[in-house]
């Protein structure tokens, strides 16, 4: 209750959402509280509210995405914004139109919010320094995917009441996961304890300097945790040969029905999608009673509406 009162006095001032690492617990809680208010819009018969009427949101996606892009588009449209879809394969060299020129051209058309997904960590931050529009990070390289982190903590908070004192395992390819990083920042700021689980070859450099414990054994961790977040093995990003075979990976790090037997009965099973069924998670578990995977997708809508609403409001106050 005290927290809620505090968050009512709080004023959101950021016109960009670049990552969760730079947010305070108070700011994260404020987004979650704001999202709560938007959740019911999706259940109405008329699924529309007016706060972004007359505003233009561009989905600037340099990487493939289905879920996040559609979720942002739908969130923007429910808030009555106009949406431009801009999809472009990023060029690896400096030839051709640069990110900055692309964004400035779009800005010249009068856009208000850029939702950007890019293969380079830090690209949204770079963009935010160089254009006037609001920038919302929809995933940058292996750096952050803040709305995914937010919807994950939103989902946990909704079911468990709070993240304070929870033990949360994030399992899989940590090194190449922006979801793992955003989740780590949000979860620890809200009082949870995070354990990264995966083979050492999929842990990032100097992982010990992050506020996280590391385990190479899912079997040791499975019994202790309140939430388990299974990451997708991103075959398209794996460089070299970080594990010998899919079979061996699944053996050690797959979330099987057998392993679930040793988990707490009220464990939440999460996955940012898309799922490789039978690889990092068995279908029986993904579709089972502890799974909140589709709940995550649903909550993603509310969280993204809240983020678009807040950055737009902050921009309006600044201008």
């Amino acid at each position: 209750m005290a927290l809620r009162r505090k968050s009512k006095q709080f004023r959101w001032h950021r016109k960009h959402l670049l990552g969760l690492r730079e947010l305070s617990a108070e700011e994260i809680t404020y987004i979650l509280d704001t999202a709560k208010g938007f959740e019911q819009i999706s259940t109405r018969s008329v699924k529309k509210a007016p706060p972004l009427r007359g505003k233009v949101v561009v989905n600037l996606f340099f990487e493939d995405s289905t879920r996040t892009r559609n979720s942002f588009a739908l969130a923007a449209s429910r808030l009555s914004a106009d949406i431009i879809e801009f999809t472009k394969k990023v060029s690896s060299v400096s030839k051709g139109e640069t990110l900055l020129d692309t964004a400035k051209n779009l800005e010249a058309m009068g856009i208000d919010i850029v939702v950007i997904r890019h293969n380079a960590g830090g690209a949204p931050k770079f963009l935010s320094r160089n254009i006037n529009a609001c920038v919302v990070n929809a995933g940058d390289g292996f750096c952050e995917h803040p709305t995914q982190g937010l919807l994950d903590v939103y989902t946990i908070r909704k079911i468990k009441g709070s993240l304070e004192g929870l033990k949360i395992a994030i399992v899989g390819d940590i090194a190449h996961s922006r979801v793992a990083r955003s989740c780590l920042w949000a979860m620890t700021k809200l009082g949870a304890e995070v354990i990264f689980v995966g083979p050492p070859t999929l842990m990032p450099t100097q992982v010990g300097r992050l506020p996280v414990s590391v385990s190479y054994s899912l079997d040791e961790v499975i019994e202790k945790v309140d939430v388990i977040n299974m990451l997708r093995i991103q075959f398209e990003r794996l460089g070299g040969n970080p594990f010998p075979s899919v079979r061996e990976y699944s053996h050690y790090f797959g979330l099987t029905a057998e392993r679930m037997k040793r988990a707490k009965p009220d464990i939440l099973v999460m996955h940012p999608g898309p799922i490789n069924r039978g690889l990092e998670i068995e279908s029986e578990v993904a579709d089972g009673a502890n799974s909140v995977i589709l709940e995550q997708v649903k909550n993603g809508m509310a969280v993204r509406m809240a983020v678009l609403f807040l950055v737009n409001q902050a921009a309006a106050q600044k201008n």
């Binding site: 400096s94 640069t98 960590g121 750096c143």
Partner: protein, 425 residues
């Protein structure tokens, strides 16, 4: 009729001859004629009271981008920047487009340097054709044309057998083989130091091991061949350890350090400002400490800028895709003073030695001293003048310099090349 230039009352520092005293210096017909108390008058007199009078500064690692990338820098713009920064000699790296790989290319650099009429412009040639690390380039012809060393800078020579062959072959010519120590298998696609910030940003990191592995390998090759070898821009504590051991074994190995590896750490990359993207990457405070200790110990032979100009439009890219490099030639002296003289690691003669006598030895040119009969290359420095670095005043064509706005001490007042005042007249 002879031309005379008399520099009066300066603190003359000539490390090669162990000189550090207040006296006068006379240059006649472009050559050092006399050093001491000089009573006679001359056609041209400079009052250097309160100033340092040193051998002309030498930077053995610059990228002037010509031929191929003249929009970033030319030999004319680069040498104008150099002379304004007190340098009377520079060594261009051969990773131009196309690279410097035969005598015609070497002569082209020399000609452009002469035409610019600012500093002496030297060049290294490549070790391997097209810097591909496969076939040896024509080192003999290039050496005869005046190339002062060989390097595939920008790349390290990856294949150990090719590197061994290069060192063996170079034994014919008494030239130095210089290496950008970086094992690409370890470095991967690294764009910053492999560490906390690369992990937080999710950007590929280049591990210190990438530098150390190649340096270790090359030291073994030098043991076999005993050919002069120079490790360019070393940046890690581990590399310092390797150099220390090599020195104990009296191997013919020298090395250089850049200003940025003495002043900046990987923390600077946290905000993905591409002006901090450089190769080898900015390391950690511990590495800086090790480099400074090495300098205090005399393990480091030269200070070199690795001046690497790039257009603003190229640096205005994502950290992942922007090119590597820092343009620091024009503020180099002030940076070295900040890194080394102010904290008491070197005194002025110590600093000047690493910018004159020792780099001249590495590239095997008869420069870097004020001995009688030597070429009249002299730099006059006001050691107490403080100024603010302003990239917009650079003579270099590029502005990719993270030191903009820094206050530094130690300003070049005049640069004299071959007895002619080329800067500060």
């Amino acid at each position: 009729m002879s031309t005379e230039l008399l520099i009066k009352n300066g603190r003359v520092i000539d490390p090669a001859n162990g000189i550090d005293k207040k006296c006068d210096l006379l240059i006649v017909d472009g050559l050092i004629a006399e050093l001491g108390k000089i009573e006679k008058s001359a056609q041209n007199v400079i009052d250097a009271t309160g100033k340092l009078v040193t051998p002309g500064l030498i930077d053995i690692h610059v990228h002037f981008r010509e031929p191929g990338d003249e929009e970033e820098e030319t030999i004319a713009s680069g040498s104008a920047a150099a002379v304004a920064a007190g340098f009377t000699s520079v060594v261009c790296m051969p990773n131009t487009n196309p690279p410097i790989e035969n005598e015609t290319d070497v002569e082209y650099i020399h000609r452009k340097g002469r035409q610019a009429r600012k500093t002496h412009v030297y060049t290294m040639g490549v070790i391997t054709k097209k810097r591909e690390g496969v076939e040896l380039a024509e080192m003999g012809f290039m050496a005869e044309a005046g190339a002062v060393g060989f390097t595939d800078d920008g790349n390290g020579v990856q294949n150990p057998a090719v590197m061994l062959r290069a060192l063996k072959y170079a034994a014919m010519f008494d030239v130095v083989i210089a290496q950008h120590c970086q094992d690409d298998n370890f470095a991967g696609q690294g764009v910053m130091n492999a560490g906390l910030h690369s992990t937080i940003l999710g950007l590929p990191g280049a591990d210190a091991l990438a530098e150390e592995a190649m340096l270790w390998r090359d030291i073994q090759l030098v043991k076999k061949t005993n050919v002069r070898y120079h490790a360019q821009h070393i940046s890690t504590a581990g590399a310092v350890e390797l150099i220390r051991a090599a020195r104990k074994d009296s191997l013919p190995i020298t090395c250089e350090v850049t200003p940025h590896h003495l002043l900046l750490t990987e923390d600077c990359c946290a905000e993905v400002d591409t002006n901090y993207k450089v190769n080898p990457p900015l390391r950690t405070a511990k590495d800086i400490e090790a480099l400074k200790e090495a300098i205090a110990e005399g393990l480091i032979d030269a200070l070199a800028t690795d001046h690497a100009p790039h257009l603003q439009s190229e640096k205005e890219l994502e950290f992942l895709t922007a090119p590597f490099g820092i343009a620091s030639l024009e503020c180099a002296l002030g940076l070295y003073v900040k890194a080394l003289v102010e904290p008491g690691i070197l005194d002025w003669p110590g600093l000047i030695k690493l910018m004159t006598e020792k780099p001249a030895k590495i590239i095997g040119v008869d420069k870097g001293t004020l001995g009688k009969g030597k070429q009249g290359d002299v730099t006059i420095i006001n050691p107490n003048a403080e100024y603010e670095i302003d990239v917009n005043k650079f003579r270099s064509k590029s502005r990719n310099c993270p030191y903009n706005g820094w206050k530094v001490t130690g300003k070049v007042e005049k640069t004299i090349v071959g007895g002619e005042i080329r800067f500060g007249a």
